[in-house]
């Protein structure tokens, strides 16, 4: 009953009468279970003023853009599967080997750049205000990032539309030599547009990184990360904390460093990886543009291949890392308990930071001219990724184990995503081994590996997060829960079926990236047919499952706007946002009016949509983490809860739910 109820609450489905009744049941239940609840119960932080309407607007635009690209890139994949299934005639003029090259390029880039970049931009820009309580360093940069990205990336797709098709990692010198003389489907003009577009896309990344680093390290914020008494606030301490390195420090040092929330650590790690690998990649892009202008190139092919992969490996993690950060943030909320050790939560991140770039040479294992020292490094780094993932997965598993886990839609998507991460990881470990890669490189096993990790790993995690944050960032209530369920089951069955079929194709040795894997010249390839058909079938299932999602999203966005979070006029004092005033805030003489407005701000829609959400200040961080910079003694949250529960008007479902939640939380705070 309880689980179901929560789900219904999540989507705001309950009738008023039912609510009253459930509310009573719930209170009873709460009063019974209270004493057993761990006092470190983790809960969603209150909506803070740091997450301004402006930030929310651009975060949601970035996320809409990302899912738009996802749908387009996914449709392109269907065409590829049609070709490979042996029925290119079905798609008419699209069913040619030339167009296949374009589809391949547009799909790969569409997913890893077109989908991932704006999603990662949006998510990372959301977690700083949300979980660190800091307004973005400069939120006015968000439209700049958005525009640069959109212009750059659509130029990339445009070049592909006009024929450019060397695959998403465009190994030099293929971009300039698309075929034997006179037959290349594209020329230097398309290549130039492509490289230009990629350069602009990367400039958006640099602007984004500037904003993220500013948000993480700027001294302009007046909050505990900068000012907590007796703590070390040097840049190096903050840097170490921002990548989770404090976990490795001796206790005496660690205790003087203010830990960052895991969602923020994840955003930092992914951004750092992207930015350290950007210079070689930009050099490569510059070389590409230069050669397209008919000038002599300055990079040799091996260096060029190193420069592409040193950036492309971090790219595949770009949205994945922040989403792992969201596992660490939301799963404790669903499990209603906190991690056994905050240290284990942080341990994987420095490893992920180093390996994110350091594994890249595993894409060059089959190049015997690559210096062995790099191969050896990357094999070990690949294993280290396995260890870091192993730690993360275990930590999360152990948290969920025998908890009162709330299997809501987001939790289900996360579970699918973690499964994809693990299974894709097994294949990654095989391929990350130099000696085994000789059988697996450039076969469908690679395709299987990254589809497990992307289609069944990153994508479901992103859907989970989208279902969770959309009410908050868009002030809309999800139109239908059933459609969400269909979306989940369809995507999971199709996605795992597809990646699993890819694995079967890989183990029988089918090369990746072939327009037609079955060839007269190779008698043994006839046996591929059933698998290729199966892959086509699962691809259709995945695609079909996106229809209810699109429908749901459109209806949701067209639906009524729900109570936009109130931005209280006074709350410089009340809100845990860095501002010169916030330090004086523990002012007990604060008028109840002020407190009320503060409370209302706290009860913004997301809170009411998420029955487990509460407005306690505790984030997924250690118990000492509070969203405020007000010292230990002040308990502004408590005050807020009390005033709020008195003031709520019982007319709307949301409010009732918030009230229930607030009271529950209050009880909990007392008992804790």
């Amino acid at each position: 009953m309880r689980e179901k109820e929560r789900e219904e609450l999540l989507f705001g489905y309950l009738e008023r009468g039912t609510i009253k009744k459930r509310q009573e049941e719930r209170e009873e239940e709460n009063s019974m279970s209270q004493p057993q609840m761990p006092s470190t119960l983790t809960a969603e932080p209150a909506a803070t003023q740091a997450l301004t309407p402006y930030t929310r607007k651009w975060v949601r635009r970035l996320i809409y853009l990302s899912f738009l690209n996802f749908i387009i890139a996914g449709t392109l994949a269907l065409f590829m599967r049609t070709d490979q299934g042996g029925a290119p005639a079905l798609i008419g003029p699209l069913g040619t080997p030339q167009v296949f090259g374009q589809l391949l390029t547009a799909h790969g880039l569409g997913m890893f750049v077109g989908w991932q970049f704006p999603f990662a931009y949006g998510l990372c820009s959301y977690v700083f205000p949300k979980y660190m309580g800091r307004k973005l360093y400069n939120e006015k940069l968000l439209p700049v990032i958005f525009t640069l990205f959109a212009v750059g990336f659509y130029l990339v797709w445009l070049s592909i539309l006009f024929g450019f098709g060397p695959g998403w990692y465009f190994l030099f010198p293929l971009p300039f030599h698309g075929g034997p003389a006179g037959t290349a489907p594209w020329g230097p003009a398309e290549a130039l547009v492509f490289f230009g577009g990629m350069i602009i896309t990367n400039i958006s990344l640099i602007v984004f990184a500037f904003n993220i680093f500013g948000s993480a390290f700027s001294t302009k914020y007046d909050d505990k990360y900068n000012n907590a008494p007796r703590m070390n606030h040097s840049f190096s301490a903050k840097f170490a904390a921002s990548i989770g390195f404090d976990a490795y420090m001796p206790k005496a040092v660690r205790e003087r460093v203010v830990s960052y929330p895991p969602a923020v650590i994840a955003a930092m790690v992914t951004t750092l990886d992207m930015i350290v690998s950007a210079p070689p990649f930009l050099t490569l892009l510059g070389d590409g543009a230069w050669v397209s202008l008919n000038q002599p190139g300055f990079l040799n092919n091996l260096v060029a291949k190193n420069f592409v992969w040193i950036n492309y490996h971090p790219i595949v993690y770009f949205a994945f890392f922040p989403l792992i950060g969201m596992y660490y943030t939301l799963i404790p909320i669903f499990a209603r308990k906190n991690f056994a050790s905050e240290r284990w939560v942080r341990v994987p991140w420095p490893l992920l930071l180093i390996t994110g770039v350091g594994v890249y040479s595993h894409h060059l294992f089959m190049d015997t001219s690559q210096p062995y020292v790099l191969q050896l490094m990357s094999q070990n780094m690949s294993m280290t990724i396995g260890i870091a993932s192993g730690i993360s997965v275990f930590t999360i598993f152990a948290l969920i184990w025998r908890s009162r886990y709330e299997w809501n839609l987001t939790a289900k998507f996360f579970a699918a995503s973690i499964l994809g991460w693990i299974v894709g990881g097994f294949l990654g470990v095989e391929q990350g081994n130099t000696s085994l890669d000789i059988y697996e490189h450039n076969t469908y096993l690679v395709v299987s590996h990254f589809h497990f990790n992307a289609l069944d790993g990153i994508i479901p995690a992103a859907f989970g997060v989208l279902y969770w944050i959309l009410p908050e960032i868009a002030s809309k209530q999800w139109y239908s829960k059933t459609l969400g369920e269909i979306h989940f089951w369809g995507s999971s069955i199709g996605g795992f079926g597809l990646a699993g079929t890819f694995a079967l194709l890989g183990y029988i040795g089918v090369p990746r990236r072939e327009y037609s894997p079955i060839s007269q010249a190779l008698p043994f390839t006839a046996g591929y047919q059933p698998f290729l058909i199966l892959a086509f079938f699962f691809a259709i299932v995945v695609a079909a499952a996106q229809i209810p999602f699109i429908w749901n999203l459109i209806r949701t966005l067209l639906g009524p706007t729900i109570k936009p979070p109130v931005v209280a006029p006074v709350p410089e004092v009340a809100v845990p946002v860095p501002s010169p005033l916030s330090r004086q805030s523990p002012d007990p003489t604060l008028s109840s009016e002020v407190r009320e407005s503060k409370g209302t701000a706290g009860a913004s829609p997301p809170v009411s949509f998420r029955p487990e959400g509460s407005i306690s200040g505790a984030s997924a961080g250690p118990a000492t983490t509070t969203m405020t910079s007000l010292g230990e003694a002040d308990k502004p949250e408590y005050q807020r809860i009390e005033t709020q529960s008195l003031e709520l008007d019982l007319d709307s479902t949301d409010d009732i739910l918030s009230k229930v939640e607030l009271e529950r939380q209050e009880g909990m705070n007392k008992s804790g």
């Binding site: 057993q36 030339q98 391949l104 060397p166 695959g167 010198p173 293929l174 030599h177 698309g178 075929g179 034997p180 092919n301 091996l302 284990w344 294992f365 089959m366 190049d367 015997t368 001219s369 070990n380 294993m383 260890i387 192993g390 730690i391 275990f394 930590t395 598993f397 152990a398 948290l399 969920i400 184990w401 025998r402 908890s403 499964l419 693990i422 299974v423 097994f426 294949l427 470990v429 095989e430 081994n433 085994l436 890669d437 000789i438 059988y439 697996e440 450039n442 694995a503 183990y507 029988i508 040795g509 090369p511 990236r513 327009y515 060839s519 010249a521 190779l522 008698p523 043994f524 046996g527």
Partner: protein, 217 residues
């Protein structure tokens, strides 16, 4: 002295003379083996997830972090697994320079969009040959070069009479213009071997297929 001076491979040959035979003759063995490991690991994971789901239906009254206690143990286990995995596969490094076994035969491979040409060394660009005569047991070194873009030299074996309906990949190496890459292999069965391009090299990539015959001398 012998062991110290020579490559990791020698160490393994010294310990187990059959290692090399496994590498050379039964490459497909590795892949099947890996497939089984992958399937088993996936199955265990799924069971783990089902157990996890079950556990949430039987929540603990008081949270004891029952599993979390074992985190350090778990890390030790995976570190050991990974070390073993790395060490045991090291002798099979796919690089000729890693091995002290010297090739008896050298074959030049030239790739270009969208065809292959094999010729006996050292005649780069000499007439391509279909049949290569080697003494069974000879160690063949392929020198691969490209005239235009990057290709992948992948060699497949298929025995119509065996249970292996799909053929199997024996080895591969990237073919990068301006570099000479190489791969070493010991053929143990005469017959037809198929070459497939294993790096996307343009619209005709999927047609870049060839074959050669190994005839026992």
């Amino acid at each position: 002295m012998f062991i110290v001076q020579n490559s990791a491979r020698d160490l393994w040959v010294a310990l187990d003379p059959n290692v090399f035979a496994i590498l050379a003759g039964e490459a497909g063995y590795n892949l099947t083996y890996l497939e089984v490991i992958f399937a088993a690991a996936t199955a265990i994971t799924i069971v783990g997830f089902v157990a996890l789901y079950w556990s949430t239906k039987h929540p603990e009254e008081k949270d004891t972090h029952a599993l979390a206690k074992y985190e350090a143990h778990w890390v030790i286990v995976i570190v050991i697994i990974f070390i073993l995995f790395s060490v045991t596969t090291l002798p099979y490094l796919p690089y000729p320079y890693a091995h002290s076994v010297k090739p008896n035969v050298v074959i030049d491979v030239q790739a270009q969009q969208f065809s292959w040409c094999l010729s006996p060394a050292p005649a780069w660009g000499s007439p391509c040959v279909q049949n290569i005569n080697i003494t069974l047991g000879d160690v063949v070194l392929f020198y691969v070069r490209s005239l235009d873009v990057t290709h992948g030299f992948g060699v497949y074996q298929w025995n119509p009479n065996s249970s292996n309906a799909y053929g199997q990949i024996l080895f591969q190496v990237q073919v990068m213009p301006n570099y000479t890459n190489s791969v070493e292999y010991q053929f143990t069965t005469p017959g037809t071997y198929y070459i497939r391009c294993l790096e996307f090299c343009g619209y005709g990539h999927y047609t870049m297929i060839s074959s050669f015959n190994i005839t026992a001398v």
